[in-house]
Amino acid sequence: MQRTGEVKNEVLRGVYRDSVELMQITERLKTMPGVLDAAVVSGTDLNKKLLREAGLLTLEGERAGPNDLVIAVRALEDATRFVGLAREMLEGLSQQLAGRYRSVEDALASHPDIRLAAISVPGRYVEGLARKLIERNVNLFIFSDHVPLEVEIDLKRRALERGLLVMGPDAGTSIVDGVGLGFANRVRRGPVGLVGSTGSGLQEVTTVLDGMGLGISHAIGVGGRDLKDQVGGIMTVQALRMLQNDPETEVIAVISKSPGPSAVSKVVEFVRKEVRKPVIFCLLGLDSRDLGGLKNVPTLTALALELARAMDETVAQRQLDRIHGFMESVKERVKVGDGLVRALYCGGTLATETIELLCAAGLKVRSNIEHRCAESLSPAEAAGHLVIDYGAEEFTEGRPHPIIDPSLRNGRASEELRRSEVKSVIIDVIAGTGAPADLIERTLRILGTDGPQAEKLVVRYVGTSSDHQSSDLPRLEKSGAIIAPTNAIAALTSIYMITGQTGLVEDLLRKYIIVEGR
């Protein structure tokens, strides 16, 4: 591609600003008249690759390391001036730091009553910070990924000895006593307690419950790897213990994607012996759904329905009626055509759920998520039915998570919608804390101005009427895109769009949503 303008890089050695602040400066630069393209990023290999692909990397920038910042600008003329403006913006950020503590020790000395800390520094720096905090009896929410597994195990064991909770590493979401940590939606309070080694799974279930009028006591995200066999569900069990003792919690759900069988056995054994409240599992990606008599449902939608049944059968029935009504409307409005599905996700658990449903429909799926029924792919590939998780570690080194900055995912969605062989594109649009205020506007930009491809776009909007982004939702509804009530229903919608098989979709509804013979 022919690129115009002049490119200038400047490397700031050993300067650190968090990836979200850098994204905000990048966005401000890009809107300046005369700037053709710009990026202010840390010099990780991934970021340098993206700069190179965008034609924004010079020899100067090539020399940046992961602890340096790169300011890269392509401008019509005088790129150096814009680089200088970016530097000034970075200096401005430093001046806003007044009032912040210089160390964890200083902060705790002034605030000895702190019981909870949220950590979101790059993964390789988590261990030292987390150990200090655990020694001071502080519970942790660790958003950071790229934390070595052995560090996770060590931190969780140390915390357990002190009766503490370590949510994470790689915890996307928790709602503790009404306070949302990481990515969380504004949901009503109520009797449902959740434990999840998943962020988007918790967001999906809590928002679907909220839509049914049901509330939650706590939603405890224990980190994506807690139910791997090496970790053994240490914090899943700890969270279950807390929910068993919590007077507000009446019914409990455990959610996970691709858990290890021995970790699952430990959790099941604990539930049998110690938990006296109803517990419903949704363990996606497990070879067998048999948990020795405990309830294990196949989708997050089925879980929300089962939790509703435990509270009030009529609420569950109303939701089922709504789902049936939606599927009827799909049959009336979508254009069925033989072609491909491209499912592009910010939430990994939602991606996993969609893989399972596409596979159940007999479709051959390729994904960057390891899954027993998906072939692996490199994310740039574009052949066959694809499910891509943009929150996977290969996309987040030195970059904000796609819930914060969905631009990479949205760009891909826009490309896929314009391919004639692609008949259905699924995306998750995740609202709530951490998500951009103009979330819906950004989603609409995927469609561009040449409207007809909106009918190929299936959206699962993960949000509640109380999330601040939701006030723009009517604009998305008017765009012509299909807004599915849950993620599993989004997947079934896509399956119908490319097969037109009513019988197949009804069969999947029975087995994966309504859950026959429960």
């Binding site: 968090d18 210089r102 964890v104 800390a117 951490g434």
Partner: protein, 51 residues
């Protein structure tokens, strides 16, 4: 269970999360974190050869 009566959270890392907590009425205690300085790669190479 963790009770949030004090509604106070220590935030180390993304400022965005501190802002989101404040928006929920939580008192946020922030640490100005930056990575510890690292020895330059080439200096490390020299040290490796010497040791």
């Amino acid at each position: 269970m963790i009770r949030m009566e004090s509604r106070k959270v220590l935030n180390v890392g993304l400022r965005l999360f501190a802002e989101e907590l404040r928006r929920q009425g939580v008192e946020v205690v922030e640490v100005d974190w930056s990575p510890p300085p690292e020895i330059e790669e080439d200096l490390k190479d020299i040290l490796d050869k010497l040791l």
